[in-house]
Each structure stands twice: as structure tokens, then as C-alpha cells.
């Protein structure tokens, strides 16, 4: 079996044909509405995939969700309503951008809080370093050989 005969091709193709992300037949005739759909679907998770949004995913379910989302938009839902419709059905898991309420506040505020903490600590540190001659009394002093060695290494 050096090469796979081309005759086997058509059969295999039928069995394996994947659906690529957004298919031409899904696209809405109204470009503005389609743009909204694309935008929204980038923030919705393909539930059976590993960390992919439905806009990029090739999975069958992602296609179903894309079509469902477009149906809601065509039916006159606002962006928020269409997303809420999907969240009602599939849970918060479908949102790639977690809500900002409840326990998720920890997630959203962790970065800014850490930044303030970090800047505060850094400011305190810089202030302390400003004064002259703060002790390094606890550091064991270098032996004369070490000092010489250090000087040699630091010499360019």
C-alpha cells in the first residue's frame, strides 16, 4: 500500500467531510445583521469543543448555534436578548466572557486589585530605598577573596 488509490477518495470524502466554520448558506442577506451575528458569535462558546467560539468552530453543534443565533436576530431580538436566549438554554458556560456579577466579581477585580497592591508595595519599597545607608547588617559580609572575585567578575 504505497499510495492510496484515488478511487477510494470520493467515499472517504463523504464520510469525513467537515463543515468549516461559518458556511456561505448561513450568512444573512442583511450585511449589518450578519455583522452583528458574527460579532456575537465570537463571544459564544461551542459547547462540545475545547475552548473554541462558535464562529471558528467546525463542529455540527456550533453550526446549529450560529443558525439559532441568526434566527433570533432575524426575529427581531436585540444583541442582549439573543445572547440571553442562548444563556437560558445552555447556561453561563456558553459565554466566553464571564458575567460581571456574583462570584465573577473576584475574577474581574483580581487584576485591578493586584495592580493597586503591587503599585502600593512598589511605592513603599521605592520610598524605603530613597534614604541613605539602610542596613545590610544581616547579610554576612563578603570575605576578602570573594570581594576580589566579585570585583574581577564585574570588571568589564
Amino acid at each position: 500500500m504505497r499510495r492510496i488509490p484515488l478511487t477510494a477518495f470520493a467515499l472517504l470524502w463523504l464520510a469525513l467531510a467537515p463543515a468549516l466554520a461559518v458556511e456561505p448558506d448561513e450568512i444573512l442577506p442583511d450585511p449589518a445583521m450578519e455583522a452583528r451575528a458574527r460579532n456575537l458569535s465570537q463571544g459564544l462558546r461551542c459547547l462540545v469543543c475545547r475552548n473554541e467560539n462558535i464562529d471558528e468552530s467546525n463542529a455540527e453543534l456550533a453550526r446549529d448555534l450560529r443558525i439559532l443565533l441568526r434566527e433570533r436576530l432575524v426575529a427581531g431580538d436585540s444583541d442582549a436578548e439573543a445572547v440571553a436566549y442562548l444563556v437560558d438554554r445552555y447556561g453561563e458556560f456558553v459565554l466566553l466572557r464571564p458575567t460581571t456579577g456574583g462570584a465573577n466579581l473576584i475574577l474581574w477585580l483580581a487584576g485591578p486589585a493586584m495592580l493597586i497592591l503591587g503599585l502600593g508595595t512598589a511605592a513603599a519599597y521605592v520610598r524605603r530605598r530613597r534614604g541613605p545607608g539602610e542596613g545590610d547588617a544581616r547579610v554576612p559580609p563578603l570575605s576578602p577573596e570573594d570581594e576580589a572575585r566579585l570585583a574581577e567578575i564585574l570588571k568589564e
Partner: protein, 655 residues
Amino acid sequence: MINELGHFTLILAFILAIVQSVLPLWGAQTGWRGGMAVGGPAASLQFLCLAVSFAALTHAFVTSDFSLRIVTENSHTLKPMLYKVSGVWGNHEGSMLLWVLILAGFGASAAWFGDALPPGLRARVLAVQGMVGVAFIGFVIFTSNPFERLAFPPFDGQDLNPLLQDPGLAFHPPFLYLGYVGLSMAFSFAVAALIEGRVDAAWGRWVRPWTLAAWVFLTIGIALGSWWAYYELGWGGFWFWDPVENASFMPWLIAAALLHSAIVVEKREALKAWTILLAILAFGFSLIGTFIVRSGVLTSVHAFATDPTRGIFILAILAVFIGGALTLYAARAGALESRGVFATVSRESALVLNNVLLAVAAFVVFIGTVWPLVAELAFDAKLSVGAPFFDLAFTPFMVALAILLPLGAVLPWKRGSLARGMRPVRGALILSLALGALVFAFQTGRSALAPVGAALGLWLIAGAAAELWLRAGGRAIRLTRLPRADWGKATAHAGLGVTFIGIALLTAWDVEDIRVAEVGDSFDVAGYQITFAGVEEVAGPNYLSTMATMRISRGGREVAVLHPEKRVYPVQAMPTTEAAIDNGIWRDLYLVIGDAQDGGGYALRTYIKPFANWIWAGAILMALGGFFSLSDRRHRVAAGARRGAAPPAAASPAE
């Protein structure tokens, strides 16, 4: 027979690692020179043993020895030779063997190039490196043995996942591991320094080349992975904030912070305790990354064969090493008081700010990555944290970093003045603001991303150039005589700017067209005329392909003829899309062929990707900058690589 040899040397390496982690440390603690001297030869021999083991496994893959389980599961006789070789690390067991080989390689290079280190520090560094080796070689032997045999070998293998049969991905893991594992050196130096209770300028200078090397490799590894995703996944995405990507990005950010803080230790003897902590954290994030990839606790597109016992083993390694190191840190960090004194406006302060931003950015990535797990365990909520969160929460840190970087880079040590610091980079500032305005005028009604990104990018590039000019004292002739470290710094910073421009403009100006076209059809996308000239079926060595021919012209002149493909790999029963890309400096043309449609014709996707290559060109510049810096004479002196001092592996018991 060769397989048994590989298995045997693997076990031998385990024993050598135990020796390496006990005797030198004991020697250093008790002043026994004989014990300390064991470290070097043990590290060299351990590396040699693992090299033999790895060669044996490679031999099994190359000769398609299906009596080994992992060869059966990941190889096939028809697979091209390149992928037979890269298949060695295209699976969990083999990649862990590569991991420990690289770990031993770093240990051995510390032995070879560490002549300048004080014997006590050298012995302790080798011992800590040996301990990491014991843990991971143990992990390989006890949970993921690559030399496991099959009682009844099949006639042919199950082939490698077709997505992995790609040159970009063949080299992505080795570089990534060189980076991940290279950070173990920073860790070993940090723990050794904590045991000794002393950190000085020389320590900062010794630890820097290792961290820099690891960071360079990590940069290349991440860039290769991102580039691969761009051309292979079929729609040109380059970063997904997937847990496994984050796993490599967190150590990268921390290592970048560590590089900068180690400079402060070296030049100014300040930030010592913080630098030690960063060194521990950098390797800690490497281990967390390994845990995320191998345990399967977080769903990711990078699914390795996962197994709970492996996850627990790595978690135990993580707990022992990072827990142990942090305990040691808590006990000893107080003794690492800094000496250097500096003003609020100074290079030191700028680097402190750099560290805060990088460390908090890494923390944001971390919490976003683990939040789904935390939410499920603590609040019983099943939710996702994806790209929209990271884009929003992470980007501000990078913007702040980019604004401050060129200014911080020209501030003098000890004491500076903002007004005086601004002077050399005034031109850069004006230039970048002008570009931002130009870009803003050029595009109408679109997001602020493009002008802001372009201005920041140019600010970084022009700022780096202005800094070089400043260092040269405004005389072109002196530019060539600047230390390579200065060139390295400027190149790396400019590289960051190039990447900024690439990401911002690609994200903002990407054009996409999806349509059904029949052979002979012609259509326009953003000024390019695209003609679907034909489609044929072609057989590759281990796949079948539907290959289209597309002619692209602009203003009547032909620009490119591209052949996007759709492939099926029958052994794995898996289809892949092979996008056809015409690379350019200002834009990539990116074509994808989809399914044949019921009503005739094919689904075609056309993307115009402006400035796409700038993303990876910037990464290459960052890595190049690292190499320039590594080749600086001062580092070579520090690493002790005196001319001809490096003995070959076999003849290394030099002490």
C-alpha cells in the same frame, strides 16, 4: 535490544540524578570537597545517559518498531521521515523524555560553563537541578514509560495526528521545552542562593544568561506555535487564550520580569528578595503549565493523552518544589536586604514598575485560566473564560508597559529627571503620535485599536532607536562600538513594538470574504481580483487532497497563484484544511477551500491579513535581541565560558 538499552540508560540517569542531588549538597554543607566535585561528572553522565535513551527512542520511531506501544500509537510506515522524527515528541511519553533530556542538558551546561562560580554555589545549583531531575525522570519511568512494549505488535501504526504533521509544529515543542526547562536553572540558582543565604551582584550576573536563554527559547517556541495556528487552523487566528497557550505565556511574562529585575540586582544590588521570588515563580509557572497540559483538568485544544495519576504526580512535584522553595524563601528572604539606594525617578524605579506590570499581567492570565476550575469547585458554577475576558483584562497592562518602556529605558540609574529623560525620546514621541493620527485619519469609523496600536508600536521602535543614539553620544560611528547588550536591549524592545503593530493592525483591519464559487468564477475582495481557476484531486504520501488553483491579481497584474487544499488522512480518518498564503510585508493573502456545495461549486474563504507577519517578525527580533545580549562579552565572562573551556560531554569529569 536498542530499546532495552534506552530503557536501561533512562533508569541509570535516574540513579545518577539521585547521586547528583545528594552528594554535592552534602559536600557544600559540610565543606567536603569530594562530595561537591561529584556534581559536575554526575550531571554530564546523566545527560549522556538520557541522550542515549532519547536516541534509542528516535531509532524506534525512525525504523517503525511497532513493538513499542507509543510508536504504534503515534507513527506509521508511510509517514514522511521528518514527522517520524518529530513524532518522537509528538506524544506524551516521548515529549516527557525530551523534557528530561533538556533538563539534564541545562544541568550539564551549568557544570561545563560554571567554572567561574564559587564551588559551593556551583555544587548547590547542580544539586537542586539534580532534584528536579529525580522528580521528572521518576515521573517518566513510573507513569509514562516510553519504552513500554506491546505483546503483539501490529503490522502498521495508527499514525500521528495530521495536525501535528507540519514543519512548524515539528520544532514548536523542543523550543518550548528549552524555554520551560531553562527556567529550572533560574530556580536552581535561586534555591542555591537561599540555602547559602547570600545574593550579590555576581549572582545577578550569573543567573541572567540562563534566564535570558530560557526566555529566548520560550519566545521562539511560542511564536512558532502561534505561526502554526495561523496557517494551519484555516482562518488565520494567531492567539486563542487557550489554557495551554496561557501555560506557556505566564512563564514568559514572569521570565521577562525576572530578566529585568536581575539587572537591578546586578547593577544596583537592590530588589534581591523579589528577584529570588520571581525566579521561583517563573519555574513554578513552568510546572503549572506542564500540569495543565498533562493532567487534562482544563479543557484545551492541546489534548495530550491525559491520565489522572500523571496529574497527581505532577501536582506532587509542584507542591514539593514550589512549596519547598517558598518555605525556604519565607525563612531566608529577610536576610537578603538590598544595598542600593535610588531616587523615585530612576532606572531602578522604572524597572520596578516594569516588574509590577508584568507580574500582575501574568497574574491576570493565571486567574483567567484557572477561574473555570475555581468557579466549579467553589461556587458550583460551570462557566467559561475566553478570549473576550483576556482581551479586556490583559491588554491594558501591555499598553501601560509600552507607554512607559522607552522612557524608563533612557532614565539613568540612581537618580533621573522626567524632563531630562523625555529629551532624547521627544522625537520618537512626536513621530509615533503623528503615525497614530495618520492611521486614525486613514481609517474611518473603526475602532481605536489600529491608531493606538500603531502609535505604541512606533513609540517602542523609535524609542529604542533614540536610546541607541543617546548611548552612542549622537555619533553614528560610535553605534558600532556599543556593547552588544545595548544592541540586544534595543532590538528586543523594538521587536515588541513590531509585534504590537502587527497584532493591532491585523486585528483591526482584517478583511474576510465567504462565498460559494464555481470553477471559472471571479470575484473582488478589498481590491484584489480572485479567479477560481480549477480544482483537482491529488494523492500525497499519506493523505488525499482536494487542491484548488486560484489566480489573484490586482489592477490587472497577477500577484500570485495559490493552491489551497483540503486533505484527508485516511489512517486517522481526519480531515485538515491547508490554507494557501501569499506572504507579504504589508499583507498576507490567505485562501481556504471548503466543502463542495450541493448546488455545485465550493465554499471559498478569502482573507486579507494586513501586517500579519509583523507579529512573528517582532518575536524573531525579540529573540535576536536576546541572542545579542547573550553574546555580550560581560555575560560570557560571567557564565565562565572562557575560550576552549567547555569539554565535550564524554570527557567531562574535569574536576
